[in-house]
């Protein structure tokens, strides 16, 4: 199992090695005759927190296809059962299909047992399926809900390992969100405090991770009630194009009033044209 290649000791945390190179490139862009590449965006920020009465789940709303934002307002918090919801990071199709499959199986199970489903059951089903596919289903999930045993929160990795914790983050923006949680999480928070904390964690992911963006969705699950707040916070509202020249409201019109641009000189030159030949060609309308 030992690696054959020469290795460098792994240092933890963020690597700032490329910053020096980037500043050098930025300074010499003109000389080198190239342009800086645009930021490449992949990923997500999802998180969850257990508070006094239940769980709060949060997610950003950007879906990317390589370098393009495919969906500016996609929904990453998926329904599993009336009392259980699941945020998904990773391959969008995998998270969507996996959560739908488990949701369907869980409904059948719930009808069979005649009980409200438990979060641990959903966790078991998800981890056993993901382990069976040995990580080829790229679904990193934050599963949360309230059942007869209280509020529960799990993080589920693509290879099938799970962790049961009071606060979890996943996705490319997870480090930024976790920084917010590690600073301000307290056990048994009030609902407003918990919502604000999750909102701030997702915002940290949106503004500090290139892969996450757009709005913040929240899902507050308590015993007997679910608040699906979509959007909870429009953190990135599209700017309004102001057309001062055409009145107060923007019309999307690029016409400008006469006199906007001052005319200095005017010169009219007539073109000398001679009509050489006039003929009519009928259109084939058969």
């Amino acid at each position: 199992m030992a690696a054959v290649s020469v290795c460098r000791p792994q240092c933890g945390g963020f690597s700032f090695e490329n910053c020096k190179r980037n500043t050098l490139l930025e300074a010499n862009v003109a000389k080198l005759g190239c342009s800086l590449p645009p930021a490449r965006k992949t990923g997500t920020t999802i998180c969850g927190v257990v508070y006094k009465d239940g769980v709060v789940l949060g997610a950003d709303t950007r879906a990317t296809e390589g370098m393009v934002v495919a969906d500016k307002n996609c929904s990453k918090i998926h329904y599993i059962s009336p009392n259980i919801y699941c945020c998904g990071a990773g391959t969008a199709a995998d998270t969507e299909m996996t959560t739908q499959l488990i949701s369907s199986n869980l409904e059948l199970h719930s009808l069979s047992t005649n009980r409200l489903p438990r979060v641990a059951t959903a966790n078991r089903m998800l981890k056993q399926m993901l382990f069976r596919y040995q990580g080829y289903i790229g679904a990193a999930l934050v599963l949360g809900g309230v059942d007869c045993n209280g509020p529960h929160l799990y993080s589920i990795y693509p290879h099938g390992s799970t962790d049961k914790l009071p606060y979890v983050t996943m996705g490319s923006g997870s480090l930024a969100a976790m920084a917010v949680f590690e600073d301000r999480f307290k056990p048994n928070m009030e609902e407003e405090e918990a919502k604000q904390l999750v909102r701030d964690a997702i915002a940290a992911g949106i503004f500090n991770d290139l892969g996450s963006g757009s709005n913040i969705d929240l899902c507050v699950i308590t015993k007997g009630k679910v608040d699906y707040l979509r959007p909870h916070d429009e953190a990135n509202k599209k700017g309004v194009r102001l057309e001062e020249h055409v009145g107060a409201a923007e019309t999307g019109d690029y016409k400008y009033k006469h006199g906007t641009t001052g005319v200095l000189t005017k010169q009219v030159t007539t073109l000398q044209l001679e009509v050489m030949d006039e003929s009519v060609q009928t259109m084939d309308t058969s």
Binding site: R124, Q128, G135, Y157, L165
Partner: protein
């Protein structure tokens, strides 16, 4: 990278390099583990519980891939529970250890799991069985595992003596794990301990600032 038990495919999810330990004493066993789960250089869970109950008086300490060991432990606890109901008796630690061995040996190419099985039963009292990667099974009075174990073999060999009491075993395990966590970057967090005897189970946690301290340069 320099990690000992890593293959690139495993890196993306909760992979764990660890320190785990188990000690037999007269009347039971003491088991202990650190609490760090890493994915690459990021600590995915800093309060992991690597001491997993398999049955009322049988536990396993998990090291290696988190996904693999969780799946194996779930499967073995199901099999052991079924077996115990069939027998109408508490199962033997040796039985649990053999179930782990069968699974780890059969799927040795696909799995990355180093497991220590420890517990108490009526026939042989406290027992520790180690099932390292590859699927070997051997009973040992004291056993360590995980990436951090390399740093404490000398300490274990010099400090272990047979006939220790439960309290001595607990202190011995806590000291050994603290030393390993100090030196191994992939181990850390808190120390989780458990003492399993005929009368039951006592779990304890030693937080980071309460760990035993040793010489540091």
């Amino acid at each position: 990278s320099c990690d000992f038990y890593v293959s690139p495919a495993r890196r993306s999810s909760g992979f764990r390099a660890t320190t785990i330990m188990a000690v037999e004493f007269d009347g039971g066993v003491v088991i202990g583990a650190d609490s760090r789960t890493t994915t690459g250089a990021y600590i995915a869970n800093r309060v992991t519980d690597k001491l997993t109950p398999i049955h009322d008086r049988i536990f396993c300490c998990r090291s290696g891939s988190a996904a693999d060991t969780q799946a194996i432990a779930d499967a073995v606890s199901y099999q052991l529970g079924f077996h115990s109901i069939e027998l109408d008796e508490p199962p033997l630690v040796q039985t649990a250890a053999n179930l782990f061995k069968q699974m780890c040996y059969r799927y040795r190419e696909e799995l990355m799991a180093g497991i220590i099985v420890a517990g108490w039963d009526k026939r042989r009292g406290g027992q520790v069985y180690t099932v390292p990667m590859g699927g070997m099974l051997v009973r040992q009075p004291v056993s360590v595992g995980g990436s951090g174990s390399s740093y404490i073999y000398g300490f274990i060999d010099s400090k272990y003596k047979s006939g220790m009491t439960k309290e001595e075993c607990l202190r011995f395990t806590a000291d050994a794990l603290a030393l390993a966590m100090e030196r191994d970057g992939s181990s850390g967090g808190v120390v989780r301990l458990a003492a399993i005897t005929e009368s039951g189970l006592e779990r304890s946690v030693i937080l980071g600032n309460q760990l035993p301290t040793f010489f540091s340069a």
